[in-house]
Symmetry: C2
Subunit: 196 residues, 2 copies
DNA sequence: AAATATCTACCTATCACAAGATAGGTGCAA
DNA sequence: TTGCACCTATCTTGTGATAGGTAGATATTT
């Protein structure tokens, strides 16, 4: 690959297409879960044919595992490290609540992990595992946050992390079911931290 | 219909079959949501043909609406009235937590309303409405419970009801996703009431 | 440098199957 | 003889997946 090619080569890049496919799949899963999209849907959105989607991801399970792994990686990349000295646990938790709201609740959808959890019965072992892995990452990080925030030992902090995760996820279910966005703040408010 | 017929008539009763169909559908929805069962599945379980299921419930939406309405009715019938004098709010709430656990969480599934909420994008208007109706009934009852339990005005009690519902639903998501049943008690414990 | 081979990212066409739904028929009880 | 609860048979649509082909970029050989 010469420098020229970077500008002139019109040959489709595999990673570009793969990312487009994952983007479409992720959006579709958030909208309606595992069974709410087909290879044909994805293909149309990306601008290729369904057989070409199979070229990049042989099976649906392969595709969803890839989506979950990317999701987990991005999640980890964005998070602040709770073990550095100047970590601000209060602000971080508030931002987390806001992020969950803007990324999921306000878009009239639930998180990709809640959606896949609901479809767990029809997930392959590999997909289930990638889902469980994500929860471990999420709970692990929140455990550290609560250790800092509430000066708790790891065990107790992990319980708090679980309570927190459950509350946010449950809130998004409540919003989705009733159609009342206001529920989110009402449910999440006990977890909000005073700014000072 | 004579008294004799009660014992001798082997002609299938419409309501019996309808109940069997609803039982099968409800169990299937709890297992995997709206798209996880077909008329053929239901038919096989009941012991008739799929066309006969359509005879009782012309469309899938009709069937699921019927299931949700029956579910809501049964829910209301079981609940103690929080407005009578000897209503024991503490015990009632503990029983509610236990009931949610034994009916959903321990069976490695989530509640029918959580499952349908996740599938909301593909529900017809009628089904969505029956789902929203159930949540209103549930929240309405819990609001009264919290008014008694915590001596709150209606507004504040309703917020508490929402927080409670969200927590239990979220806990069941967490259990389902991680496969760790222990999360349920850990998440629900702050809501448990001291027995005296 | 030219010729050849291989690889890549797509394509068309098709498979087997399962879905919701409908038309029209059968047997039996009231 | 009417109505009910069921049946067989079939339609259409959509699914995940596969086989096999093609044009063009890249790599290898001559």
């Amino acid at each position: 690959m010469t420098a020229k090619n970077i500008f002139l080569n019109k040959r489709p890049s595999s990673t570009d297409t793969k990312n487009k496919i994952m983007n479409a799949a992720e959006a579709a899963i958030v909208r309606g879960g595992y069974s709410a999209f087909s290879f044909r849907d994805i293909a149309e959105e990306v601008g290729i044919k369904s057989a070409s989607v199979h070229y990049h991801y042989p099976t649906k399970a392969d595709l969803v595992v890839a989506v979950m792994m990317r999701f987990t990686d991005e999640f980890q990349a964005i998070l602040a490290d709770p073990e550095v000295d100047d970590f601000d646990a209060r602000t971080t938790l508030n931002h987390f609540i806001d992020g969950f709201r803007s990324k999921n609740v306000e878009r009239h959808s639930m998180s990709i992990c809640t959606m896949l959890t609901a479809d767990k019965h029809l997930l392959s072992e590999a997909v289930s595992q990638s889902l469980a892995d994500f929860y471990q990452v999420k709970l692990g990080w929140l455990t550290k946050v609560f250790m800092r925030l509430e000066n708790l030992p790891e065990d107790a902090a992990r319980d708090r992390a679980g309570q927190f995760v459950a509350t946010l996820h449950g809130a998004s279910v409540l919003v989705q079911a009733t159609g009342e966005l206001a529920w989110y703040e009402k449910v999440a408010s006990p977890w909000r931290q005073p700014s000072e």
